[in-house]
Point group: C2
Chain length 444, copies 2
């Protein structure tokens, strides 16, 4: 049994000063006013570990490598970036993917993340044939997360086509399921292996409308999270209208996907009725990626007013900094509205709400027993150093706006310390293996 | 004499692998292919120290304390924030200001900054009377910078009024000069003390039009940098039109301020002729502040096409992260244009250009002998760790997009190590003193 007494503890009733938290065998057993004998974490605050609800691990390899225009293109955008991203997806072998994911998940731990939702669509060999174990790549991701010390939920993608009446893109061949049954069998297999799994129709581009109901039904039946890319780019909306006469959220509404189990990733280009339809669902915003890819700004004010919950994701891995993602929900609105604290409704609660997005809402979106410091939940904890020069404060109010990622000092995953005094014991090993893989990747 | 051999060195002709840099008594003496005996900085890149061209040190004390709406106001914006900021400006005594600036400048060193332009307008006692030494507060800032190990250019503000036909705001009383002669005498005094000084009419709000020519003339005559807040908020443009019939940049053009010595801070709300008029000037963008304050997005593409140079500033100190500021120049345009690499003209040079903004352009804006690794210039250097998990790469291309601030591993200011292996020896002292001041500030 471990008992910790930081200066402040973030509980469901807010920040508590002079409290302790107790956990045993990876589960929180109690919290309340400190008793003698607790391990004192001086000048530290402790809060629930952060939840990263949307990750594509393999995209780490193109970080920083696509931030320029091609001379033969008038503009670069999401779609030209996607071709570069696919080339990376094509080239990684299982050993390489595992090494890439190890480094990335370690970086997440260093940023305070204890649970990641891996939106996984890289299923097959580069020629499209399944691996001897058809879950080979999924298992590599699971193993990498275990190695780095982060909980992983495998959001197993259904991916069938390049788009409605869009010619097959040979760079997508690793992603494809031939039928919805194949997708569901894969989910079933992964569940059988005892993994935390979710169902993830990739997008209205990649999944035919007639698959959606089946996928949603399966998720509901087995109480699994249901995640899907929604309205990241205007082009997918145009295609959806041509195919179905409906905009994406309208289609998802018709097919019964929306609701408390459903998480719409991005949800940027929405009309008023779509915002209303999403009311009981969750939106996963990935602002550092969405600004990098030129996706646009999520209409967070209208969504929030409609009752939508928000969680956050590192998505393309261009940056792994959850506090920065949370800040950008408000900051991007400030830029275009020329106001401050746009999302502060009711007044004075903006920071609390953003912290909830990073913790409780993420846990709910991934259906994980974490995100909150309550007895019975996983002892996934993060400590932040009030003595970091970026903070240098007595109390945690304002933390979310000020803390750079290196203010994260300690992380416990299922009660086990992963980061101590900002030191992850596997860092050097992760970096060295990754560098070797990148030499092959760049020159291969 | 010190000779360093990092993996890569950023020279005026680009990144060089296997080069060394030599400096002596604070000045770069040579650089070229490495010779035996150089100190090997393995897995490190070395580049010119970063220049932060716009800082208001005292604003550090309200970091994270204004990120909410007031219940009695329908909206918060720049102007409501400014009232809170003024309250901080009113309350700080010289000892407190020095402590605040020490921590802030140390944080800048940790972020790779070796030169800061302090846009200084907090001149007098809280009741408006001058200190016994009228430069008391300026000297405290100079001393704080020396203590933390960063070069400081004191951009001494001229500030005369609350605005055209705007009633005097009692919270501005510490800022005011009674006449342009008083402003110029202050600059003259500071120069007499051997300090690096610039001339800084605060804004068209705070400085009457008839002062501008005199201030510019003095700056030109003495080869001093000339900095001014320009078009940060629409309201100042409306007021300027009412007072002069001209928009701010038009007024500055008429009064002879524009040109190679002039730096327009912010320059967000501009019309086409204003963009053309700024062609030979520099714009200092402060994107982390501008998004925090809801100022809007600088029209960087049009300004750059017109020939304007860019430098960057931490301004309100809501974040001190120069790479993030540089990235946001492009990122904010991506959000609204839904393209990528918007500023990449000519193609493939975006990162090089942003690194120039952070170094050479800043040095030119502040007229400092730094910003470039050339013999004869100051040995202001920053090393970045390629083995940081956020990078884990062989070559520095993409660094600007990927490097979190904690990848800054070493900093030399005038050849003297200030940060070594990410350790600033004065960190604990700076944090402890700052916390004491903040207790007084919050409860006082």
């Amino acid at each position: 049994m471990i008992r910790l007494q930081p200066d402040w503890l973030l509980t469901d009733s807010g920040w508590q000063c002079g409290w302790q938290i107790e956990f045993h065998q990876g589960i929180i057993t109690a919290l309340g006013p400190a008793q003698p004998g607790a391990r004192r974490l001086s000048r530290q605050v402790v809060m629930p570990g952060l939840v990263n609800s949307h990750s594509h691990a393999f995209q780490r390899v193109i970080r920083g490598r696509t931030e320029f225009r091609h001379p033969d293109r008038p503009n670069d955008d999401f779609w030209s970036w996607r071709e570069l991203m696919y080339r990376a997806a094509m080239s990684l072998h299982p050993d390489q993917l595992e090494v890439v994911a190890r480094l990335l998940y370690l970086e997440m731990v260093e940023a305070g993340i204890t649970t990641v939702g891996e939106f996984h669509y890289q299923h097959h060999q580069p020629d499209g044939t399944p691996y001897a174990d058809p879950d080979e790549l999924a298992l590599r991701l699971v193993e990498a997360a275990r190695w780095a010390g982060v909980n992983l939920v495998l959001l197993r993608c259904a991916y069938h086509r390049s788009g409605f009446r869009v010619p097959a893109n040979p760079l997508q061949v690793r992603f494809l399921d031939r039928s919805v049954d194949e997708s569901l069998q894969a989910v079933e297999r992964l569940r059988g292996r005892g993994l935390s799994v979710g169902v993830a129709p990739h997008s209205v581009r990649a999944v035919p409308p007639e698959w959606l109901g089946r996928l949603a039904e399966y998720a509901r039946q087995h109480h699994l999270p249901l995640h899907m890319h929604v309205s990241e780019q205007p082009k997918e909306i145009e295609q959806c209208l041509v195919e179905t006469g409906l905009r994406p959220v309208q289609l998802l509404h018709r097919e019964g996907l929306l609701g408390g189990d459903f998480t719409a990733v991005h949800a940027i280009h929405l009309e008023a009725d779509e915002i209303r339809a999403l009311a009981t669902s969750t939106v996963c915003s990935c602002p550092t990626t969405e600004r990098n890819l030129g996706d646009g700004i999520v209409p967070a004010l209208q969504l929030r007013r409609a009752g939508v919950s928000f969680t956050l994701g590192s998505d393309s891995q261009c940056q792994v900094d959850p506090f920065e993602d949370a800040r950008q929900l408000d900051y991007h609105l400030r830029l275009v509205r020329q106001q401050r604290a746009v999302l502060d409704e009711p007044p004075g609660k903006l920071e609390d709400w953003l912290l909830t997005c990073l913790t409780q809402s993420g846990a709910r979106s991934l259906k994980q027993p974490c995100g909150s410091l309550q007895p019975g939940l996983r002892a996934d904890l993060v400590a932040i150093d009030l003595d970091h020069p970026g903070l240098a404060c007595e109390a945690p109010q304002g933390l979310l706006w000020c803390a750079p990622r290196e203010a994260v000092s300690q992380v416990w995953c299922r009660g086990v310390p992963q980061l101590e005094d900002r030191h992850h014991p596997k860092r050097a090993e992760a970096v060295e293996s990754y560098r070797q893989v990148m030499k092959e990747f760049v020159h291969g």
